[in-house]
């Protein structure tokens, strides 16, 4: 589902990512860890088609990220490191907007949104405006957006940061349900111990290079 072959990316003339190869199959949850600036966020941004690789091959859900970025975007759920939001929308309006943007039929949107709100324990907050959402709540909303359209591939950049223990539990529970259902997930985090507990494999990325190719957790 995710296939990276010798991927390289230059930022400001230097190679921020070099020769990165990684395969994530259906039903797999793979962790990505490493020091700050190691290239984790960049690797996820390349997979999400937000940054174009300068070398190598990036194939997501059988679509080439360079030539078919829109197809890739339709097949992924992406939680970025920093979550952008529309301050004037409520949580429910935000999710309805993203559901519509993913092409979910208008009649089905309320049910889909209710389901995601319930699964992520956001059911009591649908009327809260996004501008008042805490950092942890924003991250849960980002995960809710990513799950709305049931994408086969999840790309999550530090999804547990700012979450309390209960919300972290809900996060890993949802990721487990996703991969059990045949999807795959690539999760970047500094918390190697947590990744080791939940991921099938953990890959170390340091100074733009994959140092340990997918050690079984």
């Amino acid at each position: 589902m995710i296939r990276l072959e010798s991927v390289g990316c230059r930022i400001g003339g230097t190679w921020a990512l070099q020769g990165a190869s990684l395969h994530v199959r259906a039903g797999e949850l793979v962790g990505l860890t490493g020091p700050n600036g190691g290239g984790k966020s960049l690797l996820l941004a390349i997979c999400a088609t937000l940054v174009r690789a300068d070398a190598g091959e990036v194939v997501i859900a059988d679509h080439d990220a360079r030539t078919r970025p829109r197809r890739v975007r339709g097949a992924i759920g992406h939680v970025p490191e920093s979550v952008g939001f529309y301050p004037d929308m409520t949580l429910r309006q935000d999710l309805e907007f993203f559901a519509a943007a993913h092409g979910i039929a208008r009649a089905a949107i309320p049910g889909v949104v209710d389901d995601v709100l319930r699964r992520l324990d956001l059911g009591g907050l649908p009327g809260l405006r996004m501008e008042w959402a805490s950092r942890g709540l924003l991250r849960r909303m980002a995960l809710a957006r990513a799950l709305l359209h049931r994408p086969p591939v999840l790309l999550l950049d530090d999804p547990g940061s700012g979450l309390d223990a209960e919300a972290r539990g809900a996060l890993w529970r949802e990721l487990g349900r996703h991969v059990d259902g045949g999807g795959c997930a690539l999760v970047a985090s500094h918390d190697t111990a947590e990744l080791a507990r939940h991921a099938h494999r953990v890959t170390l990325l340091s100074r733009g290079r994959i140092e340990s190719p997918s050690v079984a957790a």
Binding site: R73, P80, S82, G84, F85, F98, G103
Partner: protein, 167 residues
Amino acid sequence: MIAASWRFISGRYGAGIAGLAAAHTALVGSVAWYVVDAVWGSVPTSASLTPVPRAAFTITWVAGTIFLLVAAPILGAAAVRVWVGPDPTAALPTGLAARAGAAWLRAVVAAALVALGPLPVYVVLHALGSFTAQVVGWSAAVHAAVVAVAPVPGIVVALAARRGARR
């Protein structure tokens, strides 16, 4: 789509749109008043009033067009939905064109309302004989074109500024 656009733009900028429509009406009304007064002021009080010349409509209409050319880009910029932090739609299948299109539709709805503000003034000028029904077609078409095209620079500038702000 139009109803949703109206809900968004009226919710955030309803007072601004009403203000622009009022200013447009005031400008067009005062220009029309000035021109008609200048024409009829020179007619002896004993003589019956002649129809207002077409120039009265033309001058008024040009003033209204200039106002719309100034106001529409502002409405275009206001129609771009403001976000905080990185672009939340960056990884969606819908591209920048879809977002610009939605903003354009909102801006057109708002600009059309501002353009329609002075309609009663034009109706009065028509009743005074300042223009014929034939003139209505092209003058309305020009205003429709202004409403459709003039918001675009505002949308482009606002989108570029928002995208720049995320870095």
